[in-house]
């Protein structure tokens, strides 16, 4: 496990041609990632989720992805053929999506869906794959793996579903995990549990993590570094520990807008947007 950069991105651009013109979802984004935790914070439409999907080659047609540089573990991701992407996805890079109600297949058993990731990348017998899946369910602190294995998505609570999703995406031991709003669909009480499980797993396995969220507070406490996105651009990049000293007015506004128990305000601060930020 070297300290060399896992992911290097330079001038990533994602555009969607449409009837009213071209929509530029991500504009000249550049960043790098080692085996550390990077948070991407932004509001809806800031381009953060699109960035995550572009990294996995999952921008649907007619979207166009260009970059001066986009490498993972030294491999150039630009223009990669499908067969190569299939080798990377699940095995070396993976993504946990927001809502397990929708991201788990309703008609397949949970256990089978988790096994599938393993069997796609490893030759194994049915029994081997199953025991791996059960072990993974234990790793995400699900109390009764044998029972949950046979359940269907709609029978799981939000927290359990998200943990099953994490199991599904980490079973093949990828080096990079992109978590796209992993706790946004969960009750607040369950959010911390899931975050803790994610924390443990990422640390134990020495993975790189990209944590995408609109919640600056969570990202600030969970990640090492933070990227702030607005209007498709990265407007600021800073260490999580130095958030209070943010320089860009948008970041500062975000920080001020977060409610705090220690310093309660009569009125919550609202972000005033400067059109200059879009340029």
């Amino acid at each position: 496990m070297s300290d060399a950069a896992l992911l290097e991105v330079e001038d990533l651009n994602v555009s969607f041609p449409g009837r009213g013109g071209i929509t530029r979802a991500v504009r000249n984004a550049s960043f790098s990632l080692g085996r550390e935790r990077l948070g991407i914070v932004g509001e809806s439409g800031s381009g953060k989720s699109t960035t995550g999907r572009a990294l996995l080659g999952l921008i649907p047609a007619p979207g166009i992805v260009t970059a001066k540089r986009m490498t993972f573990g030294g491999q150039d991701l630009r223009g990669l053929p499908d067969a190569e992407w299939q080798k990377l996805r699940g095995r070396r890079m993976s993504m946990v999506m927001q809502d397990p109600k929708y991201s788990l297949n309703p008609v397949l058993k949970i256990g089978e869906q988790i096994e599938e990731t393993y069997r796609l990348h490893h030759r194994s017998s049915q029994g081997e794959a199953r025991s791996k899946a059960l072990a993974m369910l234990e790793a995400v602190k699900i109390r009764d793996p044998d029972l949950v294995y046979h359940l269907y998505a709609h029978q799981l609570s939000g927290g359990m579903g998200q943990r099953a999703m994490i199991a599904m995406m980490l079973i093949a031991e990828p080096d990079l995990l992109i978590a796209d709003e992993p706790t946004s669909a969960l009750d607040v009480t369950v959010q911390n549990e899931v975050l803790r499980i994610l924390d443990d797993l990422v640390t134990d396995r020495g993975m790189g993590l990209i944590f995408i969220s609109h919640n600056l507070t969570i990202v600030g406490s969970f990640c090492d570094r933070v990227l702030v996105m607005y209007g498709g651009r990265i407007v600021e990049e800073l260490k999580a520990s130095e958030l209070a000293a943010a320089k860009h007015p948008y970041t500062q506004a975000l920080i001020k807008a977060a409610p705090s128990l220690e310093h309660p305000l009569a009125e919550l601060a609202v972000v005033t947007r400067d059109p200059a930020w879009l340029i």
Binding site: G20, G21, I22, R24, G45, G47, G231, G232, L278
Partner: protein, 318 residues
């Protein structure tokens, strides 16, 4: 995200188009006409919908100007010396087994098709609206009694919805005798339920809204609420559905005509024309082929138009 448009918007002008497309209508009429204009533009910009519109417009045009279009030839005059003539200069589509000019018969046949379309619409839409809006409104606002009426009306609707259309129309026409009116009645019997369903769905979604409550507080009777306020809001979905169903209705009517149960000779009904050309299909193919092509084109036109209207008026259902 930023959106960069490819062209800058033109400066507003005090033209009719500007008035119609205005974002800030000054009167109710302007708003309504503006909506119609925008809908029309959207419809026309869709190529398939445009094709459908052209076909239906052509149907209307030919029906109205049939004598002109057919060069003042008669669709029913027989000329046995010229029977089964091939398409040519004298008779563009040839003649049938009685020597009647097929082109003229096709042209006048548009009137028959249009008559059936209009008659069925006139019967089916009001019944569907009446049943659907009553069921929906009473079911949503009149408590338990209303709920029972809703359930009963919907049961009746479901019963008619489950009937086989053609077979029932056959039995009907068989009993009451052939003819256009009986065909219309037979088809209408099974065609009205979808409209009741749509009307009810629309009604239920708006029955409890504030503006209806406001009208109730103003003292409006149930009848007034239904007709003046609810029915207009159902109209756009209904029109879409009617246009889409029209193709099926035309095909059923043509099927009845083919079996000899629709409009009777010498009225030029396309389905019957196909049937009459049946025996000579191997040699004089045009007698049966051309009327069938007309049915196909008109049906296609209504389907295309219906799809286009649905995209414009009711995008959530597409």
């Amino acid at each position: 995200m930023t959106v960069e448009t490819t062209s800058a918007p033109p400066a507003a002008r005090l033209s009719l188009r500007g008035w119609l497309a205005s974002d800030a209508p000054a009167s109710r009429r302007q708003a309504v006409l503006g909506n119609v204009y925008r809908g029309f533009v959207a419809l026309v910009s869709n190529r398939t919908a445009l094709t459908g519109l052209v076909i239906v417009a052509a149907l209307l045009g030919i029906a109205v100007f049939a004598p002109l279009v057919s060069g003042f030839r008669s669709p029913i005059d027989q000329s046995l010396s010229e029977r089964l003539a091939a398409p040519g200069a004298a008779h563009w589509f040839g003649t049938d087994e009685f020597g009647r000019d097929i082109f003229a018969r096709i042209a006048y046949g548009t009137r028959v098709t249009l008559t059936i379309v209009m008659l069925v619409s006139i019967v089916v839409a009001p019944i569907g609206l009446l049943v659907g809006t009553t069921a929906g409104y009473l079911g949503a606002t009149a408590g338990r009694a209303g709920g029972i009426i809703d359930a009963v009306l919907m049961r009746i609707t479901d019963i008619f919805l489950a009937f086989p259309r053609l077979v029932l129309a056959l039995a009907f026409a068989g009993a009451l005798g052939p003819g256009i009116e009986n065909a219309v009645i037979a088809i209408s019997l099974t065609a009205w339920p979808p409209f009741a369903r749509i009307a009810r769905a629309e009604t239920v979604s708006i029955a409890r809204s504030d503006f209806i409550s406001a009208v109730v507080l103003q003292g409006a009777s149930t009848a007034r609420i239904l007709f003046r306020h609810i029915v207009p809001l159902c109209l756009s979905s209904l029109i879409v559905r009617l246009t889409l169903d029209m193709a099926g209705i035309i095909l059923t009517a043509a099927g009845l005509g083919f079996l000899g149960l629709g409009a009777q000779p010498p009225t030029p009904e396309w389905g019957a024309m196909v049937a009459s050309g049946r025996n000579v299909i191997f040699e004089q193919w045009w007698v049966a082929t051309i009327p069938g092509l007309a049915i196909f084109i008109v049906s296609l036109g209504f389907n295309l138009l219906g799809d286009g209207l649905r995209d414009v008026l009711d995008p959530k259902s597409s």
